[in-house]
Amino acid sequence: MSHDKTMNLTLHVWRQNGPKDPGKFEVYEAKNVSPDQSFLEMLDEVNEDLIKAGKDPIAFDHDCREGICGMCSQVINGMAHGGQDRTTVCQLHMRMFKDGDTIYIEPWRARAFPIVKDLVVDRGALDTIIQAGGYTSAHTGGVADGNALLVPKDIADYAMDAAECIGCGACVAGCPNGSAMLFTSAKVSQLAVLPQGKAEAKRRVQEMTGALQECGFGNCTNHYECQAACPKGINVKFIATLNREYLKSIF
């Protein structure tokens, strides 16, 4: 609830004008920050001051500000989304920090995500992976009644656990190899366990893993940093499911 104490913080923020610009950290002061403010609201205030001073505000991606669109994407003190369990940057609140703290803010860093500006990166490669096969080929209209296919609760729940991925890319940013395996495996697993997705399971896993390579993501060598970085708690067991599906598809 409301705390009256405000705090002052020092921010080291990565500034970079475009993919080819070398980029560097700049230092800013964030003053009178309320613990009830969100992290992005704190950055809004810093930006207001920069704009008024005739300087270029810090570019960062955000939209829903409620942890579901997957747009926000910052590495805070070395941790994707700031390291609070199951929390996106936009849901991070300043009560996590103390007066006088120094905070380092960087963009997602991965070969497959070129920097657009400052903290904004291009995550188009994640769309490319889904386009490679992350769907069922259901036509609009002409499908069976929703209850024609029974899906037992445990299967529906397993699919939903996987489907919770918000496509933010933190798993890639957190992975020492810059792999998008967790992201890819979540979609592969969701559709592989559901009866609706089974018909295309073989082709899907092959094409999606193929796209993974083509987009410049690294290989998965089982560090499991992805799971630690994931704000939605997507479990690495889905990577095992993907591997099983992959093996099934080649034999």
């Binding site: 920069l50 500006k117 929703g146 029974l150």
Partner: protein, 637 residues
Amino acid sequence: MILDGKCPTGPIEKTWDKHRFDMKLVNPANKRKYKILVVGTGLAGGAAAASLGELGYNVEAFCYQDSPRRAHSIAAQGGINAAKNYPNDGDSIYRLFYDTIKGGDFRAREADVWRLAQVSNNIIDQCVAQGVPFARDYAGYLDNRSFGGAQVSRTFYARGQTGQQLLLGAYSALARQIKAGTVKMFNRTEMLDLIVVDGEAKGITVRDMVTGEIRSHVGDAVVLCTGGYVNVFYLSTNAMGCSVTAAWKAHRKGAFFANPCYTQIHPTCIPQHGDKQSKLTLMSESLRNDGRCWAPKNKGDKRAPGEIPEEERDYYLERKYPSFGNLAPRDIASRAAKEQCDDDRGVGPGGRGVYLDFAASIKRLGEDTIRERYGNLFEMYEKITDENAYKVPMRIYPAPHYSMGGLWVDYNCESNVPGLFVLGEANFSVHGANRLGASALMQGLADGYFVIPYTIANYLAKTAPGKVKADNPECKKSVDDVNNNLKKLMSINGKKTVSEFHRELGRIMWENVGMARSEQSCKEALKKIPALREEFWKNVKVSGSGAQFNQDLENAGRVADFLEFGELLTRDALYRNESCGGHFRVEHQMPDGEAKRDDENFCHAAAWEFKGVNAEPELHIEPLKFENVHLAIRSYK
């Protein structure tokens, strides 16, 4: 002018089938010759672009986020309605139709609402086929929950993330078409003008948000699916980028704006914590299935909730509306909460809150069941407020949430500008003066999957493909206009930031045209808004240059449009001298404080025509006829 909704006639249950048969078709071989521009790829636009692409049209789709998967439809929590009647509790297409007409306080067109109810069942089937993991029971059947304004259980859901799952379903269908090459997707691209040639919509002008390039795209038809406008209040449950811009630019090019004063204030949002707040967060209405709303009976009671004994609590919704109780419709529940607070019985900071209490349900069902149903919402609540709602009741307060008004469209979802179609929250069609919970997802997908694929053919079949070329003088003119406007924004170099103006506009709107409106408050706002707009164009400060990634410039354009639109909203609220649904004029209420309609004078849609920024818009009226559900006083008692 009297507007014609072009609704089919005859028995209501045959209207859509008959109309589908009467419409013209485009021959399969000709479809690829037609280019359709779909602006917005949320539920409405994503479903439309995917379905039109699959039919073989040549589609270009646009969104302002970095991926279509992030449209604000993603944030919908509670669920989607359909008339499946799986629980066997008395539901039917007719009942869903009836509930929606009544819920909208008799201000929507019957034929459109009928069609929505009719196709609702196809939507569920479609989403299941896409692999949307709806909640299931142990035997594997689809599960349902209840939502406000209905006495049957007809809401399908996927945990507390229904919108996310439905959007990802539409997004996956869209991804499939992008790969197939039928849809070309333009992310981070914002529409800033509509191109009208010889009276018909034939293109759009956009800004590439990465490079700053301004360019036009021409096509044979334009489909706007750009969402709602409640960010005109600054603080709302919408995403930061949601704006009226696309709709407003179309309005400036001739499309009528209907019922802009119909805005929905959602009863269950997390109360505001301070004045630096950037947005408000919704707590899904589904919580009212198991949560009970109450406020202390005694004025100014500052005790902690646990210290207030049962007999000193007022479960005001249960008391006032015994048959619907905590599931009273949104407009009613919001006003009831405000009443408690205005009466000095509110709780939390500033007394702007009431309790939503789960103690009784936790006792009855156990904490695990409640966690299973709403776990993610409780988690979200805790992140924002630092309070555990399993132990202390949630605090909630109403917040701007949804816009029932929007661009005027006929039964075909076509605006008065031929070739311009409007789907989803951006149009005004089915929710009348108040939308029922779980009906917006239904509308977006109905429009996108099952309406536009038919109705657009009826238009295209009458026009030759590729009539307008990229070198048309209207395109160049539009690009010049957009460039000049952006240059002007950047050249002012004043003292106040864009957010400061937006906040100020929001304050004017919320105080004068928010949950309660009066002739006087509307007139007050009509003085203040133009003055603020004038100041904006003299004193705004926008950083950077146009030819680059520039979020400040993006915002400036959106706020400039809100500063024009806010005035229209207010004018409409002043004009509509009655109360209905979410539009509450304090002069018109029943003795018990319910909204009092004036069917004699206002049983119509009010559609406004743009006449210039500081000029009065012209009013056009579409009379509403109720032949199936008879006009009656809405009662949820």
